[in-house]
Amino acid sequence: MERILVVDDEVEVCNALREFLGSKGYEVHTALDGSTAISKVKEVRPHIVLLDIIMPGMSGIDTLKGIKEVDPRVGVIMVTAVADQEVAKRAIGLGAYDYITKPMDLNYLETVVIVKIIDLLG
C-alpha cells in the first residue's frame, strides 16, 4: 500500500485529506508541523508528502529541505494559497514535485498523486 504523509497545521485539513486519500486506498499519515513531518518521513518512509507552505514555526520551504535531506526520492507536493505561487515555484527549484493551490480540487489532487506514484514505482 502506497504511503502518503499530509503536513498541515490545520487539523481539519489533515482529517479531510486522510478521509479522502484513505478512501482511495492509500495509507495516510499526518503531521501538524515541520519538525514532526521530518521525523515521520524517517519513520514511515512515505511515497508522497503533501506539504503546506505556510505553517507556524518551521516553514514549508525549510521542511521541504529537511525532508529532501532524509529522502531525496520522496515526491513532495506543495500546497499553497494563490498569493504564494512564487514561493511554490521556488519550492520546485528545491526539489518539490509539484504544487497545488487552495482550495484543493480533490480530483486533481488524486491525479497528481497517481502520476507521481506511477513515476516512483515505474
Binding site: 479522502f20 494559497a81 498569493a83
Partner: protein
C-alpha cells in the same frame, strides 16, 4: 492762474496717469501672481488628495491580502468537505442540490478571495519590456466578440513612436480589460456606443499615457473620489464585487504609475493611465 500753476496742474495729471498706469501694472502683476498661486495651491491639493488616496488604498490592499489569505484556509476545509459529501452516494436529490448551492456560493467567496489576494507585490521576474500597442491590441482582440455583440464601435489610435515599457503584462492586460468591461457596461442602452483608446507620451516626463474613453453615462461627481475604493460599485447586487478598479489602481501603483478618471465631453467617462518608461523597484 499763472503758467506755473497750470504747468504744475498739468504735471500732476501726467503724474496721476503714470501712477494709474503703474498701479494697473502692479494690479495685473499681482492678479497674475494670485492666479499662479491659486493654480499651484490647487495642484498641491490634488497631489495631497492623490497621496492620501494612495496611502489609504495601499493600507487597505495590505490588509485585504492578509485577510484573503486567512479566509482561504477555512474555505479550503469547507470546500474539501463539500467535495467529500458529493462523493457519498446515499444522498437524496434535495440534499445533492443543497450541496451544489453551497459549492456555488463557496465559489463566489473563492473568487472574491482570489481577487483580494492579488495585492502581493509584483515579482520582478514577471516584468518584461512590452509594446503597449500589442498589449492593448491583444485585449481588444479578446473582447472583440463581446464588443460586437454589444454594438460598441472602437476608435483606436496609437502614438507611432512610443518606447517599449517595463510591465507585468498580465496585470496591465487585466487593468485594460477591466476598464473596457466597465465602459461596455456603462454604454448599455446608450444610442452612441464608442470606445476610444489613445496612447501618447505623457505630460509628466518619462511616462507614457493610455487614455480609454467611452460614451456611457459618466461618473457622478459625488462618486469620483470613491470609484477606486474596494467594494464600491454602482452595478446591481451580484453583478460586480466592486473590486475591479481597486485592483487596477493597485496594479498601476505597483508599476510606479498613476490612474485617474474624468468625465468627458461625450457624456461618458475617460480613464487615464500613466506608466513610467523606466521601472523603479518599489520598496
Amino acid at each position: 492762474m499763472d503758467r506755473d500753476n497750470v504747468s504744475g496742474g498739468s504735471l500732476d495729471i501726467d503724474q496721476l496717469k503714470k501712477y494709474a498706469q503703474d498701479l494697473a501694472k502692479v494690479y495685473k502683476s499681482e492678479r497674475e501672481k494670485r492666479r499662479e498661486l491659486e493654480a499651484a495651491y490647487q495642484e498641491l491639493q490634488q497631489t495631497k488628495d492623490m497621496l492620501v488616496q494612495s496611502e489609504k488604498l495601499a493600507a487597505v490592499g495590505r490588509l485585504t491580502a492578509g485577510v484573503a489569505h486567512e479566509i482561504l484556509n477555512p474555505v479550503n476545509i469547507i470546500s474539501m468537505r463539500l467535495q467529500l459529501l458529493k462523493m457519498t452516494e446515499d444522498f437524496s436529490d434535495q440534499a445533492r442540490e443543497a450541496i451544489s448551492i453551497c459549492k456555488n456560493q463557496l465559489n463566489r467567496i473563492i473568487q472574491i478571495t482570489k481577487d483580494l489576494g492579488q495585492f502581493s507585490r509584483i515579482h520582478e521576474k514577471q516584468i518584461t519590456t512590452c509594446d503597449l500597442k500589442e498589449v492593448i491590441g491583444y485585449i481588444l482582440g479578446l473582447g472583440a466578440p463581446q464588443l460586437k455583440k454589444e454594438g460598441v464601435k472602437t476608435d483606436v489610435e496609437y502614438h507611432p513612436d512610443l518606447p517599449l515599457i517595463p510591465l507585468d503584462k498580465n496585470r496591465i492586460e487585466q487593468v485594460i480589460l477591466n476598464i473596457i468591461s466597465n465602459a461596455t457596461t456603462a454604454m448599455a442602452g446608450q444610442k452612441t456606443k464608442v470606445l476610444r483608446i489613445r496612447t501618447k507620451l505623457a505630460a509628466s516626463e518619462g511616462h507614457v499615457q493610455i487614455l480609454i474613453s467611452d460614451t456611457g453615462t459618466g461618473i457622478d461627481e459625488g462618486d469620483m473620489n470613491r470609484i477606486f475604493d474596494p467594494f464600491f460599485t454602482t452595478k446591481e447586487p451580484g453583478q460586480g464585487t466592486g473590486l475591479g478598479l481597486f485592483i487596477s489602481y493597485n496594479i498601476i501603483q505597483d508599476h510606479g504609475g498613476r490612474i485617474w478618471a474624468e468625465n468627458n465631453g461625450w457624456g461618458g467617462a475617460s480613464f487615464f493611465i500613466e506608466l513610467p518608461v523606466i521601472r523603479r523597484v518599489q520598496s
